[in-house]
Symmetry: C2
Subunit: 208 residues, 2 copies
Amino acid sequence: MDRKIVLTIGRQFGSGGRDIGLKLANALGFGYYDKEVVTMAAQESGLCPEVFENADEKVSDRLAYAFSMGFPYMRMFTPHADILSNEGLFKIQSDTIQNLAEKESCVIVGRCADYIMRDHPDCISFFIHNNTEIRIQRILKMHPEITVEQAKGLMAKMDKFRAAYYNYYTNKTWGNAASYHLSVNASVLGIDGTVAYIQQFVKAKYGL
Amino acid sequence: MDRKIVLTIGRQFGSGGRDIGLKLANALGFGYYDKEVVTMAAQESGLCPEVFENADEKVSDRLAYAFSMGFPYMRMFTPHADILSNEGLFKIQSDTIQNLAEKESCVIVGRCADYIMRDHPDCISFFIHNNTEIRIQRILKMHPEITVEQAKGLMAKMDKFRAAYYNYYTNKTWGNAASYHLSVNASVLGIDGTVAYIQQFVKAKYGL
């Protein structure tokens, strides 16, 4: 097939979005990119991978604080240097994502890929969320060393990071239904059921 | 079938959510309730239908203004009487919706039905949105007497009303993906395609 289809997946922390993305890519025979985007951006730019990892789907603490206070505070408190360096890294990562999408049909998790690919004629954007209790259980499975309270804190913090990053780099709102083509609570059909259901959306559009 | 399934549909103004709800109800043989909820609430309470219509999915202008300013302003500016009278009507309408759901499987459009039915074991909540250009075309078809600019204004105003109403009466955020089980941009598969796709979600859960 000559047409390259790009499926992007935004996700709440602990929602199962990563698993769903991977299974979806396997089911469709598409490439799968999550953290891989960061490694590739580092390779392509010649910059140290840690530079990207430290900035990955995060804005700096001061930037995050400014975001939480709203736009006027953002302008007041954000040091120019923070924005410039993060924007430079974002630009490199965007180029990596666009190059990927030219080469093969793929699933890209996070990293504002839906916004970066917004002019791509065959990009479908998904957002995966889940019930709080299920998310906490999933986080505890990933991090058996932490308590339930710590899992709740981590969940809130990671979502806040992702939202701040997304809202800063796009003109959309993270987690807002209108920002994506399809948003699903993965608790209704479970992980595998949700993969199959999302696949139906792609099939209905492209008759794959 | 003894089980009563309740499908609730939140929707952006002009998105096609109403049409999708009606077609979904017909396809599944479920009851369909939109404005009907208002008429029934009036009948059941003995109050004048206009009282409900004036408050339908709206909060008063002062309340809407206060909402737009955020929570502290809401408390400062909202006159107690507004809240009390609107809350009274909301309670009557909630009872109407709960009674409906006891009698038959149904599709209910708007009116915070997802929140009202939150403890119902077989309630699935949907949110329908659409591309701005398509929404404007749909609004112009509904109101051929208005201009494109007026359609844009109406679209923004109606969404604002619905959001203020929803956010006031629920502990959730209107249009936020996490507030619903499934949110779909109806432009991807079109109205009929979206109806069929949503039906798949219900089928996947209940094997209907």
